[in-house]
Amino acid sequence: MNQEYKPSSDFVSKVMAQVYAYEASKNSFSEWLINHSSIRYALVGGGTLFGILKAAAAF
């Protein structure tokens, strides 16, 4: 094997560290939703509207 391309002894651990870091940095769909300010405003608005329109019985 060409010594120039021989992997270092900690090659696998370095690659795996990068893989873990990439996976950890990925957002789930719910995180992506919550991260958007417009979605948060919609949550507030929708929740408020639901609270107002939740009807009590009047006999």
């Binding site: 950890a24 919550i34 507030v44 608005g45 929740g47 408020t48 609270g51 107002i52 019985a57 006999f59």
Partner: protein, 218 residues
Amino acid sequence: MGDSTDTLVISHNSIKTKSEYRELIEAILWAVLLAMIIRTCIVQSFKIPSGSMEDTLLVGDYLLVNKFIYGIRIPFTDLRLPMFRAPEHGDVVVFKYPEDRSKDFIKRVIGVPGDEIEIRDKQVYVNGTPYRNPHEVHKDLRVLSRGSNPRDNFGPVRVTADSYFVMGDNRDNSYDSRYWGFVSKPDLVGKAFIKFWSWSKDTWPWQARWKRIGRLIE
């Protein structure tokens, strides 16, 4: 090197997760707070489960009630802010049922403080003058005698101060002031003003009554 990268990734994630939860909780708290303020002070929705206000309000109607017109009620107290106007003859009002304040009733104001109310053979008299609301209906042709039931012959009674005499538009099928007396001013919840939704639950699947939606309550 590898250890420091792991530490950085873990700490970054914990900060981000904490922030997201905080944002979500803040959004929920804002929604609850806004809804509570609006329901208490401005407008509240009600649904109709009984036919006592037919044909003005049908079972399955959803309506909005103006909470500030008769004075905003301060929560957990009997105090009220000043009213924009007092209830008038013909107003459709929501109020706490005097015999069980956990229940809300909706009826039409027939008598205001000082009025003399009498019913003779289904005809309502206010201060001796026949009072006929265009929305009232009679679905039972029988006239019940005064002794057996107050439905068709009642009074005369004078409405006391800070009280109101209310009746359902479905005069022959309404449990109202004829049976349990006056509504006191502190028990008023608000004035019904618009129908925002209406279901007909007679058939499955339920049908929306589109023509009723958005109609003002007169």
